[in-house]
């Protein structure tokens, strides 16, 4: 299944294929799969996206019963490189703390899949790819995608790989939205679900922050109405500002104070100017400038939009509990005390909905001052909780330890 023909009209170097290597005791497989004109992705907007390619990574080995599959869903600016070195940044995988041999998501035990979401820019089809209708990059002619579309595409890849049941679907933030969508849309395929630091609908405040980011991108003269690839320009400044604004929302005031305070950057006194006098300014500028090297501005627009549109209850008559009625999946919801982007109250709404349908749900609020980003960091209490939940679910599922 690794060598399916490159679909007619598939963009540039995309196609189906894979490479395998060993890293940090993990058997890593980097692969992509193209779906041709006969298998369009039916988007919520009504558009059929075709052809399209999904790029993904797997870790570990699929067991004979195909019962040990863990699907990791990545966040807004995440990608499929959950546990392996990022090819562009050279940094460790974004969830290397969580995924690996002996980690809570144990690659010696589970077959782990992480897919770049539809609309993304790390190999899966997105706005920077060639529109077969025009021969030019999609840009803004790329259809608007939703969290539901992301999950539908993931399911198509799993179908192609011959995988039906997921032992566990796990993700934080937008990844958590996908987990909820999976549990609602494909309950029979999900044995356990771990939505972390997320919400069943994007709040007005979060939509507002996203809009600031999008406007920053669109205000960059190099954005060119989204057609910067055709113009040979790059709205890096706008994207960097979007990232800077968003990054603040991932942290917390106490963590910022602890890390930076009002410390000055490489100087003894303020300069009475607009240089990065303060460490926090320098830090944010660095976050912005490194982000643009690995992320596409239009992908940022599309994926933030998908999060804004997410309101799971809306698909179920406005009652969130109906999204989970009759579910047999077991859930573990995790929130963080200092997360003000996806506060505990948002996560509790998910728990309440699950309680209302008598679902098997656990919930823990982790004490930390690290804000929303805590789900990506070394948080021992989170690991303890998830290890306990995953191990006990694995025992129930009959997966040997």
């Amino acid at each position: 299944m690794n060598t399916i023909d490159k679909a007619a009209g598939a963009s540039d170097a995309k196609g189906s294929g894979s490479t395998e290597f060993e890293e940090g005791g993990i058997r890593v497989r980097r692969a992509s799969m193209t779906f041709g004109p006969d298998e369009p992705l039916a988007l919520d907007s009504g558009v059929n996206l075709s052809p399209f390619t999904i790029t993904y990574e797997t870790y570990g080995t699929l067991n004979a019963a195909k019962s040990n599959v863990v699907l990791i869903c990545h966040a807004l600016t995440g990608d499929q490189y959950a546990a392996s070195t990022h090819p562009l940044s050279g940094k460790p995988g974004w969830w290397a703390h969580m995924v690996g041999p002996g980690r809570p998501i144990d690659t010696n035990r589970f077959f782990v899949i992480c897919q770049n979401v539809i609309g993304g820019c790390m190999g899966t089809t997105g706005p920077r790819d060639i529109d077969p209708a025009t021969g030019r990059p999609y840009g803004l002619s790329f259809p608007v995608i939703t969290v539901g579309d992301m999950v539908r595409a993931q399911a198509m890849l799993l179908d192609r790989l011959g995988i039906h049941d997921l032992f566990c679907v796990i993700g934080g933030s937008m990844g958590g939205m996908q987990v909820l969508q999976w549990a609602a849309a494909y309950p029979e395929r999900v044995f356990s679900a771990i939505p972390i630091a997320t919400a069943a609908r994007h709040s007005a405040q979060n939509i507002a922050f996203h809009e600031v980011g999008r406007q920053a991108i669109m205000a960059d003269p190099e954005w060119k109405q989204g057609a910067y690839l055709s113009h040979g320009t790059n709205p890096a400044k706008g994207l960097a500002v979007a990232r800077m604004a968003a990054h603040i929302t991932y942290l917390s005031e106490p963590a910022l104070h602890r890390k930076f305070g009002r410390n000055l950057q490489d100087r003894d006194a303020i300069t009475y100017g607009f240089d990065a006098d303060f460490q926090i300014e320098s830090y944010l500028r660095h976050q912005g400038s490194t982000f643009v090297d690995r992320f596409d501005a239009n992908s940022y627009l599309y994926i933030t939009r998908a999060m804004d549109y997410f309101d799971l209850a809306d698909d179920f008559g406005g009652v969130l509990a109906n999204a989970f009625r009759g579910t047999t999946s077991r859930f573990c919801v995790v929130s963080f005390t200092s997360d003000w982007l996806f506060p505990t109250s948002d996560n509790r709404q998910i728990v309440h909905a699950l309680n209302a349908v008598a679902a098997n749900v656990s919930f823990v609020e982790i004490k930390t001052d690290k804000g929303h980003d805590a789900f990506l960091l070394d948080e021992p209490e989170m690991f303890t909780t998830l290890r306990g939940f995953i191990d006990s679910a694995a025992r129930t599922r009959g997966l040997a330890g």
């Binding site: 919801v333 656990s362 919930f363 823990v364 306990g388 939940f389 006990s392």
Partner: protein, 208 residues
């Protein structure tokens, strides 16, 4: 809502509660601590159990045992459960630590067909004598805290509890008292039980 009340009758308490529970029923343990009771009921009675626990340590310990436990507070979070969600709702050695025991009991009555409550009896003769003879707030084997640092903010006697049940329309189906680590069934909570019980376990149901 961990069971940190200095009670060493905890194990007896769990066994007594377990005896009251029908097999394969749906159970909510409010203030489930490390999940000891839920684990016991799962293995002995094959129940479908859920827990609510205030402490992160208790939640983690419970989740690690494969129990479905949510971090929450008896005083605020029971309102989120639908009516008749459970066959039994249990409050084990926790009611005296709630801010509003009456409201908690009312919620339990709403979400469970049966309610089980166990609590330390403040009417026990040792408690009475301690206050009488020392003139100080009693610290007993069951209640090993000073008045200023005790989590037990709403202590009651067996008779107090029985009259609250009456007021809330909760019928006493079964009542057990524990004296010196021996349990006995009482037909009606009277002055005798009120004087000698260290702990009491009540099985309640709505009188319709």
């Amino acid at each position: 809502m961990s069971n940190g009340y200095g009670l060493d009758t905890g194990r007896i308490d769990l066994d007594l509660i377990a005896q009251m529970i029908a097999p394969e029923s749906r159970v909510l343990d409010v203030g489930c601590g490390d999940g000891d009771l839920l684990a016991l009921l799962r293995s002995q009675k094959d129940i479908d159990g859920r827990g609510v626990e205030l402490s992160q340590e208790g939640v983690n310990a419970s989740v690690a045992r494969g129990l479905a436990v949510v971090q929450g507070d008896a005083d605020t979070d029971l309102s989120n459960y639908p009516d008749d969600a459970f066959d039994y709702v249990i409050l084990s050695q926790t009611i005296q630590a709630t801010r509003n025991p009456k409201a908690v009991l009312r919620e339990m009555k709403r979400i469970g067909r049966h309610v089980i409550v166990s609590f330390p009896n403040f009417g026990n003769w040792r408690v009475r004598l301690k206050l009488l003879f020392t003139g100080r707030m009693p610290e007993t084997r069951s209640l090993g805290y000073s008045w200023y640092d005790t989590p037990n903010i709403h202590l009651c006697t067996v008779l107090d509890f029985a009259s609250l049940c009456d007021e809330l329309g909760l019928e006493i189906e079964d009542a057990l008292i524990v004296t010196r680590n021996k349990a006995r069934r009482i037909s009606n909570p009277g002055i005798f039980a009120n004087l000698f019980a260290n702990d009491a376990v009540f099985l309640l149901s709505r009188n319709t």
